[in-house]
Symmetry: C2
Subunit: 321 residues, 2 copies
């Protein structure tokens, strides 16, 4: 929630001279995004987002993200489309940072999604998976099961200061997930971070998906499991079965889950919860005094895990044959 890099009118005007998007009318730093600096940009030709990539995004991953957005937009998915400059490249440099201009998407993030939002999300997620089918690049999911033990090792000594018994619970989750993690499920490009902030609606219609900076190559059903965690639970752990059912039905309206994916859904949902528990826990324990950004509460995912541990079948998540 900050502008990390200041961009002067002179620097921006020079940068824009390499593009064919018209003359600069206005730009405003946006107080969103904990990873990058974003500006809303108006030119005589339209509205754009200018992103400067800060240290948390690895520069070598940017071609994957940018090519993916271009690929998906070309296939009709409503997502930000990187704008190429006169030399044909989308990735530039501004104020010492890698910088990109993308098309602006209208839409509003829904704070309290309902059943209809979840159904629309499911459909959009399946369309994303389909649109990515012929995308030629790969990026490993570096926040999947292999990453969880090293993450936990950073947080383990202090975990119980966050919630009593958290270290032991997490240790048991980790062992169970490492032992049973499914392999060979249908996969391809997944978004991997489709929280409500990253999905736009205009009225009741889903208008677009944003923030592809965790996108990677992994099991499609894991993406669905992330959405189940992100959209169908309250912060206190309450599970909304009707919203989950709508999310899965919306997905299956576009792409039918295979039997192996249905079988794997409970462990994938538990794994997705552990992934967000662990990254939040590490961030929570690592906040410097006077930090600009309030970290997200890891305990929300500890509470979700209570549900996931007791789930036995995809039906427990509202899946219906």
């Amino acid at each position: 929630m900050a502008v990390y890099t200041e961009v002067s009118d002179e620097a921006l005007t020079a940068f824009l001279s390499a593009y064919e998007i018209g003359g600069l009318l206005s730009y405003k730093g946006i107080a969103e995004g904990v990873e990058n600096t974003n500006f809303f940009l108006h030119t005589t030709q339209g509205s754009y987002i200018l992103t400067l990539y800060e240290k948390r995004v690895r520069e070598e991953d940017l071609p994957f993200f940018l090519n993916l957005m271009e690929h998906l937009a070309t296939r009709g998915l409503a997502c930000p489309q990187p704008i190429r400059n006169r030399t044909g490249t989308a990735l530039g440099r501004l104020c010492g940072r890698p910088a990109v201009i993308v098309s602006f998407l209208e839409g509003v993030s829904v704070k309290h999604p309902g059943v209809d939002h979840c159904r629309a999300l499911g459909g959009a997620l399946a369309r994303l998976h389909a649109a990515g089918a012929d995308f030629g690049m790969r990026r490993e999911n570096n926040l999947s099961v292999a990453a969880w033990r090293p993450l936990f090792a950073q947080a383990e000594p202090q975990a119980d200061t966050v919630s009593p018994g958290l270290a032991a619970r997490t240790r048991a989750d980790l062992a169970a997930l490492e032992a049973g993690w499914p392999r060979g499920l249908p996969g391809g490009v997944i978004h991997a971070d489709l929280f409500t902030d990253n999905v736009f609606f205009i009225g009741d219609d889903l208008s677009g998906l944003i923030d592809f900076y965790f996108a990677c190559t992994d099991a499609f059903a894991y993406d669905l499991a992330i959405c189940l965690n992100a959209w169908c639970f309250e912060a206190d752990g309450t599970f909304h079965a009707n919203m989950a059912a709508a999310l899965i039905a919306g997905y299956e309206g576009v792409r039918r889950l295979e039997p192996a994916e249905v079988d794997a859904l409970p462990i994938l949902a538990r794994g997705a919860a552990l992934r967000f528990l662990l990254t939040r826990l590490v961030d929570w324990l690592d906040v410097p005094p006077g930090a600009l950004v309030q970290p997200k509460d890891p305990r929300e995912y500890d509470r979700r895990l209570t549900f996931h541990r007791s789930a036995r079948h995809a039906r427990d998540y509202g899946w219906a044959p």
Copy 2:
């Protein structure tokens, strides 16, 4: 540089239902403004700024500011125009805060203004003074000479920790300004905070003035003196006589200064510098550890005051008969 108040889609949609500006398309918190929370707002009818007033703005002053912006916009000045809702009022309430929607102004703040920018600014300032002539409300300038001694009293014990000798220099400036402060100059509505952030350009053309939350009733030439300080000095104290001459000539191209205003210009410029020195000094000494906002350096105005103390005549500021 922050969003102090979070506004959910539900709260905003309910708020907008009282207005006739179309349906919500998008809104983004803007990382600007240390006083208020601002959102860039897109509806099916256009672009707007939504402002939530935080604690530093006194609610009883809002009718003055809003009526003034409406008055000036009606008279053709390019400034944000408050949007009235269906009940005819511009001032609403959102998330527990006074809130207003104003029209969006295109334009870019110039980090390093040149002679042409200063000339354009002078003309716009004089047009603002003319457009405010028949505005019916008054607001005392509560940051003028009477306010400076109490401000200094807050900062005096620690002033020398900011710059050696600052307390003594400021004490002498204060005594000289209190003794010689001019009364009875031509006056009316002044902006009183027309720094580069608050003036927009598109290319070389001045496209608008924003942020009227220090506007008040005071001497016109004092507003010009504030602009001389804000636009015609470097941070290191270097004075740009050619820019100051263009600023004054731009002003006089619209409204001629009277002889008493010309005579008063040096003391007004010195007073304006002291006003910003003192408020910056108080903020500088009052920063809590881990504050979100980096305060502005008061020493820039200490350096400007060195110039002002030696100035004897408006000619020293580039005024030409």
